[in-house]
Symmetry: C2
Subunit: 340 residues, 2 copies
DNA sequence: CACGGCGTGTATAACGTTGTAAAACTTGAG
DNA sequence: CTCAAGTTTTACAACGTTATACACGCCGTG
């Protein structure tokens, strides 16, 4: 049988509210009383009933984190950092996965889970800007990943265009001239578009041709999709000297195909990924990658959501998180050069 | 402002309970009344307040899934299958990560989150059998991963000893004679011990020596730990012709070290992992691995927890999930043979 | 010595829902 | 037309918590 405030109150010979005051660290309680009540609490092993507390306060103490897929280790690491940040504010994280489908993302953003959660952190892939524009929900929403247009929600993202440009510039500086992009999306997912744009801008800025024939569209974001895209490019007779992939799993899938075709990385083709997942550090050829500051992103996301819970919610902001390009074996040296 | 049963009742001109009856599909409601109330519900956009419902019914509709780490894709896939299974029963999944530390696992099992959840699925690593023996909680608990002793909780696991034996037998059948084990744990984690036992039993059964000098203990379960263990074995002057790793990330970490040392996989050293994560299918050398039926494990776990919620809870059972050994390049061919 | 003021503790009323029991209707038989 | 038996609807009391408003001491001050 669960013990309630009432039981503790009876045991200590005080009123229910006094016990509540002790539990909530209300200030006007004499030390003597506090200790007496605390003794009863300990004796009975009282634990507050959250459902009741939430009913009364109108808060649940739960925030939801909705991600496209858990399989990508990037999101796993992000999740860990969100959980850590949330628990520092006595919040609990409810995990949802959308599969990256627009329908699911819409459902989640429209408050599918709204009745249980105080706030939502959503990392959309296919969701359109207009989908969010007429969102009718009082549950605070924070978006992860850059969006193109302004929306009345906090965005937390790294600068995708700039990061993509950095990656491509790195390839160009190595002497690469034909840089393929793997991971454009047929459905025009916004984050993918931004990275394609960075790719295009940087090539153009360097006086090179942004050859759209070297952009491979895909349907998913996993290893297999990267492999498929790489095969598609090679089968079309193209022979780029560098590949920039939408994310690390796709880059790794692409490298596998290059390996199967007898092409050497980086001598024949240099490869850069995105997200810097742990896996990229342990392949036969370690992977150069854009490394977002995941810990910061998780922390900022949680803080942004919680800040919106109070009455004095700040204006929606676009928050830029840090990133850096981590160079590894997959871009070591100039074309044709043997690995050191 | 949120709309409650009271508002709907006022709008429809009926009592609160009648609205509640309609919402809950109570049988004794005339079709006319049902429609009239439904119209008001739709008009006002009523959504039930779960906190209140839970307070009243004593259930929260949330189960927790506590995992050692999210970074391992095995757990990510498992999580996805648990979420899917739970949502089929209108349940929501709260995710927790223990970091695989005994303290955290203890905390979780003792009901750290108990006030919010109806049931708990725990995948322990370091937790001892005796830690669970005096668990004092009314929240149903289901354990993932094999435990050695009998406990009054449902276990869902594949047969670790048998699976390990299958893996080692496969290596022996390939003509390997010196099989190392990577991933024993200094802290005597039970799952790791079972796999070591399988390794030992199979070698002995084949008339080979189970050389304890080829068992490498580690502190973690990631790529880096596998790499460290592999280095340790090689640096000690040993030169096994096969490696069986506790899990895929460790196997991949080990393969990276073999690559760095100029040892060929599988010609010089064959490698078998455990868990069959997607990553193992896209390395330069694809990884042979023990593949547990993750979908079944997730489904069984959810069903077991929910079955314990009712009054007629079944007796605790040990449920065996299926697995199979998936052979890939890392064990292709006999020692010294060139890859086909 | 009375009085305001402050610090401490207490009844009571919510929060929104569902279970119980009883009231208000139907229906059909006598 | 009455009454019993059944069906539908309602009033009310929980569930366990916190906010509000108030009562009670105690203190220092006029």
């Amino acid at each position: 049988m669960r013990v309630s405030l009432k039981d503790v109150a009876a045991h200590a010979g005080v009123s229910i509210k006094t016990v509540s005051n002790v539990v909530n660290n209300y200030q006007h309680v004499t030390p003597a009383m506090r200790e007496r009540v605390q003794r009863s609490i300990d004796a009975l092993g009282y634990q507050p009933n959250l459902a009741a507390r939430h009913l009364r306060k109108g808060r649940t103490g739960i925030i939801a984190l909705a991600l496209p897929e858990l399989g990508n280790p990037y999101f796993a690491e992000l999740t860990a950092s969100v959980i850590d940040a949330a628990s520092q504010h006595d919040y609990i994280v409810l995990l949802d996965h959308t599969g990256g489908s627009r329908d699911q993302e819409l459902l989640v953003s429209q408050g599918f889970r709204a009745r249980v959660i105080d706030g939502l952190i959503l990392s959309p892939i296919e969701l359109r800007t207009e989908d969010l524009r007429d969102r009718d929900q009082d549950v605070p929403l924070v978006l992860l990943g850059e969006r193109d247009y302004d929306l009345p929600y906090d965005h937390i993202a790294i600068d995708n265009v700039a990061a993509a440009r950095d990656a491509v510039r790195h390839l160009i500086e190595l002497g690469r001239r034909e840089v393929a992009f793997i991971g454009a999306r047929r459905d025009r997912s916004e984050p993918a578009q931004l990275r394609v744009r960075g790719w295009r801008e940087e090539l153009t800025a360097a006086g090179l041709r942004a050859d759209e024939g070297l952009v491979a569209a895909v349907d998913g974001w996993g290893h297999a999709d990267g492999a498929r895209a790489m095969r598609h490019i090679l089968d079309s007779g193209r022979r780029p000297d560098a590949v920039f992939a939408y994310n690390d799993p796709m880059a790794i899938g692409a490298m596998r195909v290059l390996h199967e075709r007898g092409l050497r990385v980086p001598e024949d083709i240099a490869v850069v990924g995105f997200d810097d997942v742990i896996e990229g550090r342990f392949g036969a050829v370690t992977l150069t990658s854009v490394s977002p500051d995941k810990a910061a992103i998780g922390r900022l996301a949680v803080e942004s959501v919680l800040a919106r819970l109070g009455d004095n919610a700040p204006a929606p902001r676009r928050i830029w998180a840090d990133y850096q390009l981590v160079e590894r074996e997959s871009t070591l040296g100039r074309p044709g050069a043997a690995t050191p």
